[in-house]
């Protein structure tokens, strides 16, 4: 009996049907001149610092796709909840989707319990999610927030490892940024000093790493609220492209004008009465 019309419910979640085909395509393309397009990465510098009254997070704004700058004003500091923000490095889509999912889960929790979520809860949810996918989701995240237990700064790696230290840097420019942080970090710094330190750390990442560049964004989280300064510092190399190519009337001068009237003669006329009853 032909069973072609019995359809099983497709499993929800990730679909692995095209993996064989993709592997075969990679093999075919390697021999030829064309290559498969690379996913957009945020080869990046992100940093976070704990200070006296809160947390300061910083990030650059360049997103690369292979050797091309794909986005010059990419927003790498993602909103998680009113008191928690997250910087993301790695594959841009993965960090975006993962932080979105985390934010949605925490919103549901807030609605259920009537409280602002704690940073440890966000970290645990992320850890579970990333470990479940064994690092295939390329998201390295720095989570910072202020909750009822104090100020917190965590780093979550793509395989689900976490680290809880007062100052952090991640991304391809993390070594350069860490150098600055290691040199000048002190416990219980003032807010302005912490902002300057994070700015300098991201700046050194931008200068020393090809994958980081353009502007610097800073996000300051305190008990009173969040200050998301975007951009904190703009790059000196601005893009002076003219985005609109409309010119005002009179830009081009009129030299001569000739008017030719078009004469029409009536060939046929039909009248159809409209019934307006």
């Amino acid at each position: 009996m032909a069973l072609s019309n019995v359809v099983e419910t497709p499993a929800s979640g990730f679909n692995f049907e095209n993996v064989c085909r993709n592997v075969a395509l990679e093999g075919l393309l390697q021999g030829g001149q064309t290559k498969a397009p690379k996913p957009m990465k945020t080869g990046t510098t992100i940093a976070g610092v704990l200070c006296k009254n809160g947390v300061v997070l910083g990030a650059d704004t360049r997103a690369t796709s292979g050797e091309v700058v794909a986005d010059k004003m990419c927003a790498k500091i993602h909103y998680i909840s009113p008191n928690i923000y997250c910087c993301g490095a790695g594959t841009a889509a993965d960090t975006e989707k993962t932080t979105d999912l985390l934010s949605s889960n925490l919103t549901i929790f807030s609605m259920n319990s009537g409280r602002n979520p704690r940073v440890v809860m966000a970290v645990n949810i992320l850890q579970d999610m990333l470990f479940r996918y064994r690092g295939q989701i390329g998201a390295s995240l720095i989570l910072g927030g202020v909750d009822c237990t104090g100020n917190h700064l965590y780093k979550v790696g793509p395989y689900g490892s976490i680290d809880n230290v007062p100052y952090l840097a991640m991304g391809s420019g993390d070594l350069a940024a860490l150098g600055i942080l290691e040199d000048r970090f002190k416990a219980n710094m003032e807010m302005e000093e912490a902002k300057e330190l994070v700015r300098d750390a991201i700046h050194s990442g931008i200068m020393s790493d090809l994958g980081s560049g353009n502007n610097i964004d800073i996000c300051v989280i305190t008990k009173q609220g969040v200050d998301y300064i975007r951009p904190y510092q703009e790059s000196e190399y601005k893009d002076k492209r003219q985005r609109r190519y409309k010119y005002r009337p009179g830009t081009t001068s009129i030299l001569t004008e000739k008017i030719v009237p078009l004469e029409l003669e009536v060939v046929q006329e039909t009248v159809q009465r409209m019934d307006t009853a």
Binding site: A2, L3, S4, T9, V19, D128
Partner: protein
Amino acid sequence: MNTRGLRSQLKDSVPVTGMGPQVGAYGVQDTLRSGFSSVKNELLPSHALELSEKNFQLNQDKINFSNLRNIQGLHAPLKLQMEYRAARQIQRLPFLQSSHLALDTLKGNDESISFEDILNDPAQSEMMGEPHVMVEYKLGMM
């Protein structure tokens, strides 16, 4: 947490039921829809996560019930599984998508969002089985 007591509980984890040949009409390989077949493709999973994702929910349930049995005694998982079985029977006809609302509420899936809810939602599936054939298949008359 997903990894609580993982090692001790997974000695008898759910076996893989195999990918199976993609049969189309008349029991023959459906080349148009599922591509060329090869024995290797059917026996081995092609992606590192394919196996673990296929059995993820089952394994999680196994771990949780095991833990529950160790902590609270046999009655706890028994009662829960009885409730799950009852909730699983509340479905629409076989060819229609059911919302699984009772089952989701029991399992706690209504308070969390993961990739299962966003990607490949069965409610948005573009294929539907032929109603008469599906009902006959479900009732075992095929």
